[in-house]
């Protein structure tokens, strides 16, 4: 390899270390690294500088509930993996009402249905959870298929959205509601929206119509109150 060719790779290594190359460029660098000890050594030298970027940010403590939720999930999964029965109280855990949210919910579903099926009749695997629809969404249907912590929300006949409006999925844990995915139905009012995580231990999944993407709290006036009992 000529010196100028080698310089080309050396020029790309800092961007590679910073994950700032396009996928094709990154693959090319990786192929080169496999056969070039000089570049591997250069990369090893640069990497602690990149680690500084991760470690030098303002240190803030995560909320204690994050630790609590993670340990609940991991303990539950460890017991399940070991073939133990789910602990008692799991049903109550999943059955908190959503009255605090009534003012903002357009469409709501009790995710408790999954927990009840799993806990009471011993059915294998997750069963779809049906949604109750608000008057504004009369005629629409929505079903959530759970796959562990994630799921797929299938809706049909949803009212159209205008401009930047978007349907936002929210997941409720106790008195806390977090945004999940957002979707716009196709011309027939249908869509399949993936919910990538956070369904473990959730009390409810809700959908609201929001004026735009990116809201961190549900923002629409009262239209529906769900009943999970």
């Amino acid at each position: 390899m000529s010196a100028s060719e080698h310089t080309r790779w050396e020029d790309d290594l800092p961007a590679y270390a910073l994950d700032a190359l396009d996928a094709d460029e990154a693959r090319a660098v990786e192929s080169h690294l496999a056969g070039c000890e000089r570049c591997r050594a250069d990369l090893r030298w640069l990497e602690p500088a990149v680690d500084v970027l991760a470690e030098s940010v303002a240190q803030v403590s995560p909320p204690p509930r994050l630790r609590k939720e993670l340990l609940e999930i991991t303990n539950h999964e460890a017991r399940t993996a070991a073939g133990a029965e789910p602990e008692r109280g799991w049903r109550n855990w999943a059955l908190r009402p959503v009255t605090a949210l009534a003012a903002t919910v357009l469409v709501a579903a009790g995710i408790a249905g999954y927990a009840l099926r799993g806990g009471d009749d011993g059915a294998e695997g997750p069963a779809p959870v049906a949604f109750e629809m608000a008057p504004q969404a009369k005629g629409a249907t929505a079903v959530l298929d759970r796959h562990g912590d994630s799921g797929t929300l299938r809706v049909t006949n949803m009212p159209r959205v205008e401009g930047s409006e978007i349907y936002q999925v929210w997941i409720q844990h106790g008195d806390r509601v977090k945004p999940s995915s957002a979707f716009r139905p196709d011309v027939t009012g249908s869509v399949e929206a993936e919910i990538p995580s956070n369904l473990y231990g959730a009390d409810a999944v809700m959908v609201t119509l929001e004026p735009e993407r990116g809201r961190t709290k549900p923002s629409l006036p009262a239209v529906f109150e769900s009943d999970l009992d």
Binding site: P14, A15, V52, L53, S56, V60, L71, A78
Partner: protein, 201 residues
């Protein structure tokens, strides 16, 4: 037989990870307590939103627990590996937001000052001190170098995107990335002592 929590605390990260992979929740708890704060802080810095930072951190730790992201001890320390996953997931979360914008005006010190003192634990105080020392390495960089590095690492932009954004040749962006990283690296080796360099390496 499962190890007792005190024994787990004594294990190094590399010995802890096989236990986490074998679904030992006590080992996971130790792992989270060691790295959860740094992970959440990095996610918070990138996404700029506590709720989203919490989601990203939860997603990362669950993916580690479920062994979706296997630790490869040839690729640096457990902490670097975990924080690398946090960085990537946080950038993914940022990209899902439609109105994504680079956060170059972030004031790390201001974030700390806004928090009540009683929320700062002793362990956090140590992390803060280390972070502040490391931040010194970044702050010494000329603005033109720190900007391209921050856009790449915290903003998730590629070098081509940065070149377009700042209206400068790609070669200039690459050159500034190298100069900046080399200066941070030199600062690590000289100013902060080899202990930290080893910890980060």
């Amino acid at each position: 037989m499962a190890m007792k929590p005190v024994a787990l605390q004594r294990l190094g990260d590399e010995d802890l990870m096989p236990l986490v992979a074998r679904k030992d929740p006590a080992a996971f708890e130790v792992f989270y307590d060691r790295h959860g704060g740094a992970a959440y802080s990095l996610a918070h810095r990138i996404v700029g939103n506590p709720a989203m930072a919490e989601d990203v951190t939860q997603e990362v730790f669950l993916s580690i627990w479920r062994s979706e992201a296997g630790f490869d001890r040839t690729r640096g320390s457990v902490r670097s590996w975990a924080l690398g996953i946090v960085r990537n997931r946080a950038i993914d979360a940022l990209r899902r937001e439609s109105n994504r914008a680079p956060r170059l005006d972030f004031d790390d010190d201001a974030v700390l000052e806004r928090r009540p003192a009683q929320q700062r634990t002793e362990e956090e105080a140590l992390r803060r001190e280390t972070a502040r020392n490391l931040r010194g390495a970044l702050e010494e960089l000329p603005n033109e170098q720190s900007k391209v590095i921050e856009l790449a690492y915290y903003g998730g932009f590629t070098h081509s995107e940065i070149a377009r954004m700042l209206n400068m040749p790609l070669g200039t962006v690459k050159g500034r990335m190298r100069l900046g990283l080399e200066k941070i690296r030199a600062h690590l080796a000289e100013g902060l002592g080899e202990g930290l360099v080893e910890e980060l390496a």
